[in-house]
């Protein structure tokens, strides 16, 4: 198994563990709904779903954690990649990648929230025949907090998508300082 296979196996195991946590978290919710709102979900149905989710959990852990090796070999078909040039400063590049990914997530959230607000607004307009001013005054929608939160997320998202140069520089400096401090303390303790 080469390094790429090991990486793929780590990622597959990570995905398996993440979804296992999500499945585990939904089990008590089913029981809760069955007891508090039996008209929505009866107890036998909840028990059936819990058993089904339990089976899914076992299958998920088996496939991703115990049989991850075979799956990784199927996913990664390339041989070992060449070592990257050690002269490349990978730390700032990694921080920039992280920032860009987070920026994309922020913008995704902004689009989602804006669509939600617009759909609710249009529903109010068409169903109740309210004027835009009335909706804001009486239904208090969209609230000032929602608007500010959306604008802030948009600003943060754009900054992060731009690579967040100040933040990356600050993080790299702090990381290198921490590495040096740990090395120093490690050497003095030996």
């Amino acid at each position: 198994m080469n390094r790429m296979h090991t990486l793929a196996k780590i990622m597959l195991s990570g995905v398996g563990i993440f979804f296992a946590i999500r499945l585990l978290a939904s089990m008590p919710t089913l029981m809760w709904v069955a007891v508090t709102e039996p008209s929505d979900l009866s107890l036998p149905v909840a028990l059936f779903w819990m058993a089904f989710l339990g089976l899914c959990l076992v299958a998920l852990l088996y496939v991703f954690l115990y049989r991850g090796e075979g799956l990784a070999k199927r996913i990664v078909v390339v041989r070992e990649l060449a070592e990257p040039d050690s002269k490349i400063q990978w730390l700032p590049a990694a921080f920039r990648l992280v920032c860009i990914a987070a920026g994309l997530y922020c913008l995704n959230l902004v689009i989602w929230n804006t669509t939600y607000i617009l759909v609710r607004y249009l529903t109010h307009l068409s169903m109740y025949g309210d004027t835009p001013g009335t909706i804001v005054r009486t239904a208090r929608f969209p609230s000032i907090e929602q608007v500010i939160s959306c604008l802030l997320t948009l600003a943060v998202g754009v900054y992060l998508l731009g690579g967040a140069p100040h933040f990356v520089r600050w993080q790299v400096r702090k990381t290198l300082e921490q590495c040096k401090a740990f090395e120093k303390s490690d050497n003095s303790s030996r």
């Binding site: 939904s26 730390l91 992280v98 802030l152 921490q178």
Partner: protein, 193 residues
């Protein structure tokens, strides 16, 4: 510790922290009218979530070596990472990423925090003059839970975006202690014997 084990450790920690946050987000007490649910169900549910949290934190954050070995499998020992610097860097990158992913979801709660400063004064004067609980504190159990959860999430997100320096330092010391002696050290000790 090999390079792959370092990456695995980081992945496990990131997943552990993010997993605990998402776990409590789906706590049914905050959506499904906790006051109507029987007390035994509330206690059992809280207990189940607490046990899951402890398990996740223990297996994925504090003592993740066994899971780490299972995920990486048998590896060539010559691939040992030269310095603990790699762990520091990868941990910080992972934790900053987790913080940045939590941050946009915590934005509405963040905006509410400055608003609290304006509400505290009238609330305190309400308590002093009427000796009664002010309206802003008259919240249901679900609302209290949501507010506390959001506040903790904001604090966690900010701490992670700052790179979680104390946590990284603690992890480095912990992994250094857990690591077996390096080959040269073992060879030296044999030579002196």
């Amino acid at each position: 510790m090999t390079r792959m084990q370092t990456i695995t450790k980081t992945v496990l920690m990131v997943l552990g922290i993010y997993g605990v946050v998402t776990l409590w987000r789906s706590y049914p007490g905050q959506y499904h009218y906790p006051d109507e649910a029987p007390v035994i169900l509330q206690v059992l549910c809280l207990l189940a979530f607490a046990v899951l949290t402890v398990l996740i934190m223990y297996l994925m954050v504090f003592d993740n070596d066994s899971l780490c070995h299972k995920m990486t499998g048998a590896e060539d020992d010559s691939a040992r990472a030269e310095q603990p610097a790699l762990l520091t860097k990868s941990l910080r990158i992972g934790l900053v990423f987790t913080g940045l992913m939590l941050l946009p979801n915590s934005m509405p709660a963040m905006i509410k925090i400055p608003k609290l400063f304006f509400l505290i004064r009238p609330a305190v004067s309400d308590i002093i003059t009427s000796r009664d609980v002010p309206n802003m504190l008259r919240l249901s159990g679900a609302e209290w839970f949501r507010n506390i959860y959001n506040l903790l999430k904001v604090i966690l997100a900010i701490y992670l975006v700052c790179g979680a320096p104390h946590f990284v330092r603690w992890q480095l010391r912990h992994s250094r202690r857990a690591e077996p002696d390096e080959p040269e050290t073992i060879a030296n000790s044999h030579a002196t014997n």
